[in-house]
């Protein structure tokens, strides 16, 4: 019990430590910037699109756009939130164009979702847990993943930035270009959905 409460209190500082330093964007420093943030941008895009190829292509596109508009970066936010914002806009545009293609959505996306979900679940860490615990943890992660996949894209973005990227709500607000209250509302709705899924899954697995 004590451990849970400590975790509840410790969540704030833990995510706050993920805040990146402000990065100047001179042309010659750009490669270092890519090196520092490419994994995060790829992760954000993969979480949003659940498509490795699209995530790879859009990661490149994200950095190209950042380079093209580097003079607009004023250093008011961190480079990470600025890049995440570009990546999310690219993901929204991509999803819009993907939605336009009915057949692609019907066949390819469903297949990709299943593959991607299986991949996420298969790569769960914690090898020290017992086989039973691993199965339960895998099932729980699967339930969270499928709940996240069904969320509207803005709720999903907020949810993923919070729990995959460990960003603070203020950083998420900067990245998504939303008000703090809107971010909280999105996250709360997402968590209510996820909790419902977990409850349903628990009922299914309980004897």
């Amino acid at each position: 019990m004590e451990a849970i409460l400590i975790r509840l209190e410790a969540l704030g500082p833990r995510v706050a430590s993920a805040r990146d330093a402000v990065v100047p964007l001179a042309a010659e420093e750009f490669d270092a910037l890519v090196r520092r943030h490419q994994r995060r941008i790829y992760r954000v895009l993969l979480g949003q699109l659940r498509d490795h190829d699209a995530a790879e292509t859009l990661t490149q596109e994200c950095f190209l756009r950042a380079y093209q508009h580097r003079h607009r970066f004023r250093g008011e936010s961190s480079a990470a939130t600025w890049l995440v914002r570009i990546a999310l806009n690219l993901a929204y545009d991509h999803a819009k164009s993907r939605r336009a293609s009915f057949w692609k959505k019907l066949f390819a996306s469903r297949r990709r979702d299943q593959e991607s979900e299986a991949r996420h679940v298969a790569e769960l860490p914690d090898a020290q847990a017992s086989p039973e615990q691993q199965v339960l943890a895998r099932e729980a992660a699967r339930a969270v993943w499928s709940a996240a996949a069904e969320l509207p894209e803005k709720q999903r973005a907020v949810f993923l930035l919070r729990f995959v990227e460990d960003m603070t709500l203020a950083e998420i607000a900067e990245s998504t270009g939303s008000e703090l209250g809107t971010v909280k509302a999105h996250l709360h709705r997402a968590l209510i959905n996820v909790r419902g899924k977990l409850k349903a899954q628990e009922l299914e697995t309980s004897p």
Partner: protein, 163 residues
């Protein structure tokens, strides 16, 4: 026993950032005394943490993937920069050529009116003309009268000798 937390309180607690102190206090107090909620809270936080770790793992790629990606980004930036440079170069060259053309073009020569030259030209024109310049309208009239007379004569001779 405190009442069970509402959905919003649960969500605020699980969000774990910027949680109002009264919600944290109530959640803490309730979790201390309600094993079912404690179990559920523990399960939710563990699942969320497990999900985050799994999602981060799923996005991991071998180092060559990231190296190749950086190289591609650098190459695309270089290509774009060279196109931009070329465009700038072509535009500035065109502007330079236009400016040079405008600046170096010889100024149009001003025609200086020379009375002697004009007199000589008038003389030459008069020499080549069949009638003097002063009689030009009259000579045209004569020319037209001659043409009319010759056509009348031709008509008459055709009437007299109709083949």
């Amino acid at each position: 026993m405190t009442h069970h937390p509402s959905g919003v309180e649960w969500a605020a607690g699980l969000a774990g950032d910027d949680v109002p102190p009264d919600v944290t206090a109530h959640l803490k107090a309730h979790l201390n005394e309600c094993p079912a909620c404690r179990r559920e809270y523990e399960r939710c936080t563990e699942s969320l943490a497990g999900f985050g770790a799994a999602a981060r793992n799923a996005a991991e790629r071998p180092e060559p993937f990231w190296t190749r990606q950086r190289a591609e980004i650098a190459a695309r930036i270089a290509r774009r920069r060279s196109v931009t440079l070329r465009l700038t170069w072509v535009t500035s060259m065109a502007a330079l050529a236009l400016a040079a053309n405008l600046l170096l073009r010889p100024a149009p020569q001003q025609v200086v009116w020379d009375p002697d030259d004009a007199l000589l030209r008038d003389v030459e024109t008069s020499l080549w003309r069949s009638a003097p310049a002063s009689l030009s309208p009259a000579s045209l009239l004569v020319q037209e009268m001659n043409q009319a007379a010759s056509s009348a004569a031709r008509t008459e001779s055709e009437k007299e000798n109709p083949q």
